[in-house]
Point group: C2
Chain length 134, copies 2
Amino acid sequence: MLMKQATQRYTALRRSIVEVMSKSSTPLTIGDLLRKLPKVPQSSLYRNLAVLEQAGVAVRVKTSGDTGRYELSERLAGHHHHLVCSRCGSMKDIVVPSSVEKRLDDSLHALAKSEGYVMQHHRLDVVGVCKKCR
Amino acid sequence: MLMKQATQRYTALRRSIVEVMSKSSTPLTIGDLLRKLPKVPQSSLYRNLAVLEQAGVAVRVKTSGDTGRYELSERLAGHHHHLVCSRCGSMKDIVVPSSVEKRLDDSLHALAKSEGYVMQHHRLDVVGVCKKCR
DNA sequence: TTCGGTGCAAAGGGTTTGCATTCAC
DNA sequence: GTGAATGCAAACCCTTTGCACCGAA
């Protein structure tokens, strides 16, 4: 599968990282991952996340300024976006109606082309205030 | 104006930071800013960017993992999004047709509400490959 | 005179790396 | 057996902070 073609090994640790991510409905911070994977040294976590990212298995989510967040790539988790609380920084996956997605995507493709870019994909974050923070 | 109501001074340095940002059609990295503002110590730049951000004048853009990027807030620069090159990381401002924006925004408002969030705004990045990187 | 702003240098904190050891193929 | 993976600790790098001095109201 994905790991094979990247000439990397799918070790027990990598397997467990993927498993933890697949059970979460939100991108996880390094802290979250360390908490859910006791006894894993930070360096191993970072290194393996980098490997998983290169292999196209995981993605680093850029929305939170402070610490890194990771989730499974869309190839594995499906296309989705994030709802982000501007107060506490918590995130939640959301799926936008495909009709809206399509129209947006068409529009963005054209825009990118007119600027001399070849579009690959889009990222969308919805920023708001969650229930707890109100 | 914005600085006044934040009980902060609109000093020469702050003025020049804002001026540099207003002349750019892309968010600027700390490095960019230091280059365009010679002799300004990093610490002063960082401190002033923080002040400008608090005052609602500038915004820290989250898309690049490595170093911070800043641009004028939408209140000053207008609503727009970013075209990002996945190879070199360069960014460019883009404006999406308002009809598409509206439909998207309506849809996102509803989605956020159904998840228990009060939506504030959305962020959208178009990721692709720029002319130079192809 | 007072309080914010500035500069320099040092401290912080998340992330990365060097190196010797262990493990998977 | 060989090259990748792992752990620990040290190094990195961007960013923040302490502190003394300067400047505007």
